[in-house]
Structures are given as structure tokens and as C-alpha cells.
Amino acid sequence: MDKKIVATTSLAGCFGCHMSVLDIDERILDLIELVEFNKSPIDDIKTFTKHCDIGIVEGGCATSENVHVLKEFRKNCSTLIALGECAIMGGLPALRNNIPITECLEEAYLNGLTTKDNNPDRILPNDEEIPMMLDRVYPIRELVKVDFFLPGCPPTADLIWNALTALILGKEMDLPYEVIRYD
């Protein structure tokens, strides 16, 4: 069997979901037998070098760069998975969604405890190299079609393992209660 090609990325996430992928422990050796990683922080490949079978996205979209990467993923991956709360609903970063972005920026760079005395020129970062901030944090399904959602913060290693292997081997997903409960 040809190895499936997998890409992963973290947008507005904390990398916790990626840590959870690594939490499959020794099963990572089995995984390596089944898949080849392409663009991913796991192997540090920065750009897509071929079309992928599966794209795994952690985090929602908070910046123009997130949007760009997400669209690249959608274009280059046949199946797209939203991994974890942030990708599915926006998660913690989306707590800012009820506060206008201007207020957020001012709090972060002008009025916050650690910045207010240290930013005498009252500079708001606007270098062209920096991604632009979106008005709110978007769950990824508000931008692109998502094929599967794996919930959790982070989703458990077993959930990721079960879902991935099912997808790769073309089986039904085995998602017993223990794997998707959060209490």
C-alpha cells in the first residue's frame, strides 16, 4: 500500500493539539509505516512539495497569514481535518471576539500593565512583515469546507489515532464514549 501523505499546521492555536498527536507514544512508529509527512512542524517542511491526502489543522484564523495557510491547506489536501476546539470553534483566542480589535490592540500595546510604561512612542506594530489582524478569530469552517472535526482541547491521542488510522485504512471510525468524553 502506498503511504498516505499528511500535512499539519498550527494556526491560532497553542500547539497543544500537535503535542497530543505526539502523545500517541510508541504508536508513532506504526504511524510512520502508514504515512509520509509533508508540510508540517513535525518534520519542519515549510511549503507543500506535493498534493497531500490528509491535512490536519490546529487553531482558527486570527491573522491574514492564518487565512493564507488555511487556503493553501484546502487547495493541497484532499481531506481536511479540524483538530481541536480552536480550529472547530475559535477556542481560547476567540475570547477576544466580543471586544473590538482596536480595543484589543490598545490594551496589548498601549494600556496593558507591561506595555504602558515601556512604549513611550505609543507604537502599534504595523511592519509589512507582520501578518494583519482579523476583526475576530474565525473557526476554519467559516472559510473553507472541513471534512472532519475532531473535538477536544486537545483531542486525546486515542481519538487522533483512531480517526487517522480509520481514515488511512478506509475503515469506520471507532469512537467509543471514553475517547470523546470531556468530563
Binding site: 484546502r74 480589535i101 490592540l105 502599534l124 506594530p125 504595523n126 475576530r136
Partner: protein, 601 residues
Amino acid sequence: MKSIVQNVLEKYNSDATRLMDILIDVQEDQGYLPPPVLAEIAETLDISEVDVLQTVSFYHFFSTEPRGKYSVYLNDSVVAEMMGRAKIAEAFEREAGCKFGEVTEDELIGLFDTPCIGMNDQEPAAIINGVIFTELTAFRVKEIVNGMRAGLSVEELRAQSLGDGMNASESLHSTVDNNIHKTGAVIFSDYDPGEALAAISKESLSPEQVIERVKASGVRGRGGAGFPTALKWEFCRKAKGEKHYVFCNADEGEPGTFKDRVILTERPNLVLDGMTVAGYAIGATEGILYLRYEYRYLRDYLEKILADMRAAGQLGKNAGDIKGFDFDIRLQFGAGAYVCGEESALIESAEGKRGEPRDRPPFPVEKGFLGMPTIVNNVETLCQAAKVVVKGADWYRTLGTSQSTGTKVLSVSGDCKFPGVYEIEWGFSVNDILNMVGAETGEVQAVQVGGPSGSCIASNEFSRILSYEDLATGGSLIIIGERHDLLKVVVYNFIDFFAKESCGSCSTCRALTMMYRKTLEKILAGHGKRSDVQAMLDWVPIALASRCGLGHTAPNPIVSTIKNFRHLYEGRIVNADETFESSFDLETSVAEANRTVGRKL
């Protein structure tokens, strides 16, 4: 001198289960519920302040901030929209000088939206300080606002001829119209106050015999669900409890329904005797008539009738001359929440709490009001049952069809010549009704049967028969002419209503109502995809996991129009690309941040 708050608390014996009455009385006196007053109420009732606040925050007529010396609540239901609400709202904003949701700077006038107030046959209509204003025009709005500036009382502002029937009576004195266009054999026929009780005492009917007679008649609930009435009474009679309670459900919150208002106006004794008969049948001593706050204007009228009934011995000790049967009735008002029409929410509300539906079982017939066996029946159901007791089951079964006996009172509104109330026997088709009410069948696009929680049908189903066996309905028919944009005007209004009225207890109902609304918005904005339409159908089983009927039926406006008017959805799908969402626009979403930091795209 005691404070008004203390007086009110005393009136209700500082009983925390009467919190609704306490809050309503205080708010009517003060115009709103200032936080220090809530603290005082909490302290006297010996409950925590948040307990008071959580009840206050649940009901949209309660406010902890001033809502103006004159608070205008303008109906924003779909029929109001169809009858020109937008122009009236504009006129109010222009004349008053503030927007809806705001109070003028001098705190004279507050303008607020409110869902269907049960006046669909005389829209646009508003409630101002508890008084109903119907058939508003921009000219009238100007007069009214000028009157407010001149300090006129609400009664003076009204300056309109009184309504028909009992609306013109001294204790009601309202400009509301009944618009009864068809009377039938059961409800709008002759009835002498006390007749049902007299039948019981004359024939010496035992409670079991009353239940038997109602059972033989085949009466089923008229509140929507169609549960056999006698069965409910029997369950309750058999349930153990120190006391049993009868509730009459006059919450009538389903947009498009207003027949209970007319029945309460024209046949109040039939309703109240129906409660008494039910009380006798289940072994209750107390009945509670729960009315939506929108019907507050009926209070003095109904209180007077209750007083007359007590004087005539129809209530009180040995009520209706039935030995050993003590029974009395009191009124209970809500404060603006559709979900309170759901029977367990209604009971919670009557106990002074948030109107959140309970988990069932146990059903109210076992554990209802204050944990005691309780029946909740619709206004019309109780009338039907009372008439059965007077005239017998055999007579009753001659009316209607074999499965659906008796008559049904319909509330008809929308695009027709004669909106109003019609009492018909079960068994007429939708087409018959359209002819009856003067709707040009060729010009009818759709009929919404049973309100937003019912279904929206197209002409291919107009031959269906109103009955429990075919097209069951709580009685509301909204006729929607060809000229309206069905999705934008009607369906959106309905799903928005559910999103606002969801009590929020179940995540399924809380989230799905929002998701339905958002998805419809997306489709209306031209960003919809075929998969969005499919998704809305796929969500139905999830909605059915909710606790109460609101969550179960909230998808109906969308699901029934996808089924019956699919072309309207498909016609709006312009985004053929299923993989990318056209609703997201990078330029728009970075605009504000870029402006703030001083950066060009």
C-alpha cells in the same frame, strides 16, 4: 409610612413563590425594577439577590433600568411586518427622537420590539403601559407621541372607539376587536354562567363520571399537542399528593394565535367553569389561570367575573352547590417569554422562577405546581370539556370527524379579507378556510399552519383536512400572499423568534437556533452553498435531543420551507464552489486593525 415595596410584599405574604406577582406590581408602580428594590425584595423573601435577578432577567417585560414614562412595545411578528410595521416603527423613531431599544434622553418615551402580542388580526399594534393600541398608522403615531409630550394618560392617548362585544364593557373598556367571523356550536354558542357545575350537581355526577363523559366525547387538547383530555385528568386524579392543581394555559405565545384572547373576552365564564369542572374531576381545590403579560388589560375584567362567581356560589366552599367541593381560581401573569406556554415552564414561572422547562418525567400530572399533581390545559380545551359536561358526549361526537370531535377555533391572519376568529368543526380543508376568510386562492403563496412551530404549506397541500388525523393545528393560520419574499420576510422572522425565545438550557436548542438563523442569513446574502441547505436538514435529529417542544420545532420554519419551497433556497445559491466560503472577505476583516495601526492592505 411603609414603602410601596413593603406593601406589595405584604400583599403576597412575603411568599417567594409569588415573586412574579411581586415584581409585576412593583414594576407597574415604579416603571422599572431598580437594583436596590430587588435587594429589598430578596431580603424580605429570604432568598438570595441572584435568585431575584435571575427571574427578572428571564422575562423581557422586566427591566432593571428605566424604560420611559411611556414604554412602547411594538409588535415585530411577521403579520405586523406584512401589515406595514416598518413604517410605524419609523414614525415612532422620528416622532420620539430615539431608536428602538432606547429611551429618550428626558426618559419620557421608550421604544421596544416585542414578539407577537396576539393581535394579528388588527396589526400593526403596540402595547403602551399595558394598554393595547391596534391598527396604528403613521398619523396616529404622531398624535400619540404629541399626546405623550402633553402629558396625557394612556387612556387619553388611545382616543379610539371601543372594540366589539365585551371589549366595550365597562370593566374591560378596550379598543381591541374580537372579529368573530364564524360562531360554532361549542364555544361561541349560548352558555349560562355556572351551567356546567349545575349539570354536575343536577345529575349528581361523580368526578369519575365527569372524566368518563369527557373521555366518551373524545376531546383532545387544543393547545397544540392534542393529548386526550380525559386521560390527562385521570392520570392526575390518580396521582398521590396533598393537593391537586388546575392550570389554564392562556399564555398564547405562538405567533399568529389569538383565539384564546377572544374566548376569554367573550366566554370567560365558560373558561372558568371549565377550570372548575376540571378541578372537580381531579380533586383540586385551587385553579390558576396563567395569562401572558400582553393580556394584562383583561385583568380587571376577569377579576370582576371571578368576584361575581364567588358571589353566585360558583366558586368557594361547596362550589356550584356541589357538596364538599371547595374550589377557587386566581390569575397569574407572566412577563414576556414564549417558552412559558410550555406546561412545565409555565409551572416554574407560576412558582416565581425562570420559565425554564423541566425534565420529564415526572410529568406535571404527577409532580407539577409546588411538586403536586397538576393538569395544564389550554383555554379552549377547558371550554370544550365544560360544554361536553353540559350537553353530553353523544351530542359532542356529532361534531367534527370520527378522530377529531368537536369544533376548533381558528385564528386567521395575513393576506385575506376577513382576518379574525372562526369556530369551525374539524374536517374542513385549507381551501375551504381560504374561501371562508376571503383569500384569493390564486394569490396565496403559502399558508403557515400552527404558527412558526407548525408547518408552511404550499398550494399542493391546500386540500389537506384540518384534524388530528391529517393537518393538526393549535388553530393559527397565517396566509402569505404572493407579494412577500417568503424566506426573507417570513422564515427569517420565525427563526429569529426562536433564537430569541430559546431559554438556553439545552446547548442543542441554544446553538442550533443561532446556527439556523446564521445559515439562513448567509443564504439570503447570496453566500449559501448547497451543502448549507443539506446541513439544515441534517441538524434536525440533533434538535430533537432538546428538552422541550421549542427546541424540537425550532427547525420547522426552515425545514418545512426547504421541503415545500425548495426552489426559493436553490434560487439563492450562487456560490457553486463548495470548498471555499464566499462569505469570508479578507479585505473587510482586516480593515479595522489596519486602520488602527496605520497600515495599508
